[in-house]
Amino acid sequence: MPSADFQTLPVFKRGTKVRSRLLLFVTICLAMLVADMHFRYLETLRQVLSVVTYPLQRISSEPVMAARDASVYFATLAKVQIENADLRRRQLDVAEQRLRFEQLEQENAQLRALLDMAKRVRTRSVAAEVLYNAPDPFSRKVILDRGARGSVEAGQAVIDADGVLGQVTRVYPIQSEVTLVTDRNQAVPVQVERNGLRGVVFGTGRGGLEVRFVLANADIRVGDRLLTSGLDGMFVPGLPVAVVENVERDTDAFARVACRPLGGVERSARVLVLGRAELPPPPPKPDSEAPPAARSEAGAGKGRAKIGKNEAGVGKSGTGTRKSGAETRRRGAENS
């Protein structure tokens, strides 16, 4: 476009230089895009520069927060009293459940010890608040008010009272970014509550979810609840994720299973960040008597943990534990 003007005035000619600069910048940008989206090389740079942009971000988000908090501030006394009474009642209910839960957990730990299975880690949870939706219109992410200093780690599950909301994908010092389950690049390994059928739930990018790679003749029905299977080692098993809304079987070899998220995925303001379900597997001992076949099998399990691009490598550990527990058990059975 500019070259026609410049050619009439050779003194001020800058056409080729401008074009080569454009080419240079576009090449740099494309290289950055590939390095960031495909290989995730630029996370460190992002972390460093986010320290610079954070003050400006904070100032910019202040009016929006103030507007949101104003509604809380002007809540009437009566409303708060009703809510308070309700919360007290609910706390009593939960306390009773909690007592039973602690006893069951102890019993479970003893039983697992008897069976020589891997120990479950006691999951620690962090309560956090959703600050705002991330402004990027191409993805579904929210920003939480807890970051690395609030002991949030990348890869942790984020839930509310009704179900899974998403997974922490980026951690900044004071904030963290959660990719919601409805994002196109987010995947959660699940299990049908009724019969234990396993699958992986993906976001559709339109607010819904779908289970992919389920065979057309698989036993999955409308109304089935899907729970996390915990196979990835990141999500605690048994958390409700979605309910099946529609199953189409006549399309392909695979059924088309549309689901609705159970948690308040794009509504909840207060959430819980859950710790990992299992410890990462211990480094293999050089003098271990495990047969080489078993080791290679445990190694193959690693590939499965890399579900979803968003886990940024954090999901690579954590699958081995369950597997090695199973191995030990089998070996024990063979010896006896």
Binding site: P2, C29, M32, R46, P135
Partner: protein, 173 residues
């Protein structure tokens, strides 16, 4: 017959550097405001960059676009290089139009800016959709239209010495 005076506003004065960079930083701050999925919120940074690339092509260009683009990418949690690419192309197009646009009435100027803003947005959509992210819907492009509308008041907001040259019988265009 007009009297000759020393004070003439015939030659467009260059904008002060602090004004340029302050306005770009303010635009950056406005881009960080979390407005959620509200359609039609203009991309302030794109608008400010287009404005200065047209007004001050010697100072604001592709390098500035790249730098502020990366900052927007980080603040918005977008893919690194997404806004940078869009703003580099936007600055290139605006620099190319710099010698022409300012001679038109302000409404026609806005019509020149609209396709530039749309091109920047289209580039971002193309990059992200190719990478497998969701298409944000056609409402996304509304923000270019609001940006072009905001071009009109921008013309009056500027300090007087930055206004374009008066026309008289000696300078018909």
């Amino acid at each position: 017959m007009q009297q000759f005076t020393n004070h003439s506003n015939r030659i467009q004065q260059p904008a002060k550097a602090w004004l340029v960079y302050l306005s770009l930083c303010v635009a950056l701050g406005l881009d960080y405001v979390p407005t959620g999925a509200l359609p039609g919120v203009p991309d302030w940074m794109a608008l400010a960059l287009a404005f200065w690339s047209i007004r001050e092509p010697a100072r604001v260009g592709m390098g500035t676009g790249f730098f502020f683009g990366v900052l927007v990418d980080i603040g918005q949690g977008a893919a690194m290089g997404q806004h940078a690419l869009a703003y580099v192309v936007l600055a290139f197009l605006s620099n190319g139009l710099a010698r022409r646009v300012m001679w038109f009435p302000v409404l026609v100027q806005a019509l020149h800016v609209l396709p530039i803003l749309l091109a920047a947005q289209g580039l971002m959509v193309a990059v992200r959709v190719v990478a497998g992210d969701e298409f944000p819907g056609w409402w996304y492009f509304l923000s270019s239209a609001t940006g072009a509308i905001l071009w009109l008041p921008l013309d009056y907001l500027l300090p007087q010495q930055l206004q374009p040259v008066d026309r008289d019988e000696n300078r018909p265009i």
